[in-house]
Point group: C2
Chain length 405, copies 2
C-alpha cells in the first residue's frame, strides 16, 4: 500500500525517485494489493491500542471532520456514541475505562456517518453491518483467540435437501487429530439466529477457537461441530448463493419459509448427511443440538419432533414456538415435549440474559421449570446482559464441557 | 437491527408501544445482531445500485458532511477521488459511466476519512484495508459469482512443517463430486503475493466460484486447488495465528524469513501432506503450480528446485529471484531452470499487465523467451492494466483450462 501511495503522490514531480523506490522494493516480491489507497493519514495512526490496564485507545486521523465519536458494545447503554477529542495534529482520540475480558465490536461516527475504523483491518459482519473488533485478554477472550494448541480443521460443505429442494451449505468443525483417528466422534449441531447464517457461529461465535481451546485443556470431549443454514429458502450465507449480492442480509423475519417449520422437519437430512460423510457415532447418546435465539427455537422444535435423535439440547436466549401455529413442526408442541421427556435425554440446558431486550428471560425460566417438572435433567442458566454474542459465546463455553461425558 | 433501534429510540416515551412491537416480532425468531446500531440514516439508502446500462449509483446519507467522494478501482487513474453531489435530503450520490464486467472494490471519503460504504454489507480485506465490493455481470464477473452448478467444498486444514517448525494453515478447494468419486484428482497449487495469505486467492481471487463454473461448463478438468500460506514465519492469515490481532497485515516485505527461501524449500512437505490426505494422482503430470507477484516468484523457484514435481507452471505478474542471493533456493537459479527445461514440462505460462507499476512486463516477456529458447512449451500473455486482482483472476481463467489435458 505504501508503495502505491508513494507512486501516486510523487507522480510528475518526483517520478524518478518513486521509480527507484519501486524498483528497490520490487525484487523481493511485489505488492499484491490493488492501488486503491486509503487517505494517507489513515495509515499514520495505530488504532485501536489495548493498553496495559485494559483501557483501549482509539485514534482516527480526520483533520477536516467536525465531530467524531466511538460507538461500541461495551457501554452500559450499548449503541451510545462516545465523543472523541481532536488533537492539534488532526487526530481524534478516546481512551475508555478499563474493560473486562471480551471480544468487542465498535465503529466510528464521522460527521454523522457510521463507519469501521480505517486503521483496523480486523472486522466482522453481523447481519447487515460490518464492525471493527478487538479483544481484551483474560478469562473470556482467551478462549476466543488462537493459541499454540492443536487446531481443528474447518470445512464448508454442500449437501442436498430433498425436502427443501436445493443444495445448501454447512460449516463443519473437525477436532484436531480427526484425520488420523480411528475412533468415531460425537456431534454438536449448532444453530444460528434470525439474520444469521452458517458462518455466524464461526465468525461471531468463535467456535473453532473455543473448541480447540476447550479440547486442548481437556475440558470438552473432542467432537464434531456442525453449523447449518437455518433460513430454509436460502442455499447459504448472503453473497454465497446464486442470488449473489442481490440477497442482502437483513434483520428480518420475512425470509420466505422462515416460519413454516420445513427447515426443522428437514433436519434429519442434515444428520444423515453428516453421518454418511464423517466419522460419527450415529446415535442419540452422541448427538447434541443447541442454538441461539431463532436457533434456540429450532433446537427446541427439532429435538421435540425427533425425540430419538438428541440426548443434549441447548437453548441460548431462545425464542419459543407459537403454540397455535398451523404448521406441522410446531403443532401440538407440548404433547411432543412430553413424549421427548418420557423418552428421556441427558441434559436440557436453557440460558438467557436478565436484560434480554425481548423479555424472554422469565419465559425461558418457566420453560426450563416445565421441562424439569416432566422429569428430565434440566439446567437453567441466568446471565447478565441481553441478546448479545458475548452471552452466546459464554453459553457455548458452559454447555460444550457438559456434553458426551 | 431495526428492532433494536426502535427499542432505543422509544425508551421511556413510548416504551409500551415498543414492547408490543417487540413481542409481535419475538415469536418468529429473534434478532441475533448486537445492539450497536448504525446511524439510522445509513439504513435508509440503498447503495450501490447497479443500473441496467451497467452504470453504478452510490449513495451515502451524510447531511452533516462537507465533502464526500468515491474512490474505486475502475477509474483510469486507480485511486482517484470522484466527488459525490449532495441532495436536499442530505444524501450524497454519484452515478458512474457504464462499467465493463468485473468485480470492483471501492470506498467513500467522508470529510477526508476513507471508509467502506455503510449501506453495503459485502466487503473484502485486501492486505491491511477493507473495501466494499460489487459486480458488473458479463463475461468476466459471471465466472466470479455463484451459479446453480455443483459446488466444490472448501477446507481450512492444518499441516505441520518440520522445516519451518510450526503448524500452518492451508485452504483446499475440492471439486464437486469429490466425496463420492472413486477416481483421483490432479492438483493445482496456487500461491498468493506479498501482503497476502492463504485466504487471498479465495476471497479476492474467487477461486471456488471460478473453478465451480469452469468445471461445470466442461472448460477445466475437475481438480483440487491448494492455497498455502507463503509467509514462512507465519502460521496462517493475520488474526488466525497465536499472535492474534497483534499480527497486522501490511504491504511489507519485511516479514521474517520472507527472503530466505526456506518456504520454497519446504514446499515438498505441503505436497506430501496433500498427497497423504486427499485423493490425488501423486505425480508430476498431475501437478501444477502458479502464483501472483511474490507467489509467481515462489512458483518459479519451487518448480526450478524440484524439477520432477510440476508439469505446469504459471507466473502471474511475477517478481523474479535476485540472482546474486546467497540463499540456497535461488542460488544458481539459471542452472536450475536449465535442468528443469531439460527434464521437461507441459506448459510454462507467463502473464503480465502492460501497465504493471513495478515495470515487470518486459522482464516477464524476456523470461518467457528465455524459457522458450531452452525448448519448453512456453506461453507469454500480455494483458492490459497493472498489478491488480482483475488481471490475476483473468490469468486463472486462462490458465486453469489448459491444465491436465
Amino acid at each position: 500500500m505504501i508503495v502505491t501511495c508513494i507512486f501516486l503522490s510523487f507522480t510528475n514531480m518526483k517520478q524518478t525517485i518513486a521509480h527507484i523506490l519501486l524498483l528497490l522494493l520490487s525484487w523481493t516480491g511485489l505488492a499484491a494489493q490493488q492501488n486503491v489507497g486509503p487517505a494517507a493519514s489513515a495509515a499514520t495512526v495505530t488504532s485501536p491500542v489495548v493498553n496495559e490496564n485494559n483501557t483501549v485507545t482509539f485514534r482516527l486521523a480526520a483533520p477536516k471532520a467536525k465531530s467524531v465519536a466511538v460507538i461500541g458494545d461495551w457501554t452500559e447503554k450499548a449503541g451510545a456514541d462516545i465523543p472523541m477529542k481532536k488533537g492539534k495534529d488532526g487526530v481524534w482520540t478516546l481512551t475508555t475505562a478499563p474493560l473486562s475480558s471480551e471480544m468487542y465490536t465498535y465503529r466510528f461516527v464521522v460527521d454523522g456517518v457510521t463507519v469501521i475504523d480505517p486503521a483496523n483491518p480486523f472486522t466482522r459482519r453481523d447481519v447487515n453491518s460490518v464492525f471493527s473488533i478487538f479483544y481484551i485478554n483474560g478469562p473470556q477472550a482467551d478462549y476466543y483467540q488462537v493459541h499454540d494448541v492443536p487446531h481443528g480443521n474447518v470445512e464448508q460443505v454442500w449437501y442436498h435437501s430433498d425436502r427443501l429442494n436445493m443444495s445448501r451449505r454447512i460449516q463443519v468443525y473437525l477436532p484436531a487429530g480427526y484425520d488420523k483417528a480411528r475412533t468415531n466422534y460425537p456431534v454438536l449441531y449448532l444453530l444460528h439466529g434470525s439474520g444469521g447464517d452458517e458462518n455466524a457461529w464461526m465468525e461471531l461465535g468463535h467456535v473453532s477457537r473455543i473448541m480447540d481451546n476447550l479440547i486442548a485443556q481437556g475440558k470438552a470431549e473432542p467432537m464434531i461441530v456442525v453449523m447449518p443454514n437455518g433460513n430454509s429458502s436460502k442455499q447459504a450465507a448472503p453473497g454465497e448463493t446464486s442470488e449473489n449480492l442481490s440477497y442482502r442480509p437483513a434483520m428480518t423475519n420475512r425470509l420466505p419459509g422462515i416460519k413454516d417449520g420445513e427447515y426443522e422437519l428437514s433436519f434429519p437430512e442434515i444428520v444423515a448427511f453428516i453421518d454418511q460423510h464423517y466419522k460419527t457415532v450415529a446415535d442419540k447418546k452422541h448427538r447434541a443440538i443447541a442454538g441461539l435465539s431463532m436457533g434456540g427455537k429450532h433446537s427446541l422444535t427439532i429435538s421435540a419432533n425427533f425425540p430419538d435423535m438428541f440426548d443434549y439440547i441447548g437453548l441460548f436466549s431462545a425464542g419459543f414456538p407459537k403454540k397455535e401455529s398451523q404448521y406441522e413442526a410446531v403443532r401440538d408442541i407440548d404433547a411432543k415435549l412430553k413424549v421427548q421427556a418420557e423418552k428421556g435425554y441427558r441434559l436440557y440446558w436453557v440460558g438467557c440474559g436478565v436484560d434480554d431486550q425481548f423479555d424472554i428471560h422469565d419465559p425461558a425460566r418457566a420453560f426450563a421449570e416445565k421441562m424439569q417438572a416432566m422429569g428430565g435433567n434440566t439446567e437453567f442458566h441466568s446471565s447478565s446482559k441481553g441478546h448479545v454474542w458475548s452471552n452466546w459465546r459464554q453459553y457455548l463455553l458452559d454447555f460444550a464441557p457438559k456434553l458426551f461425558k
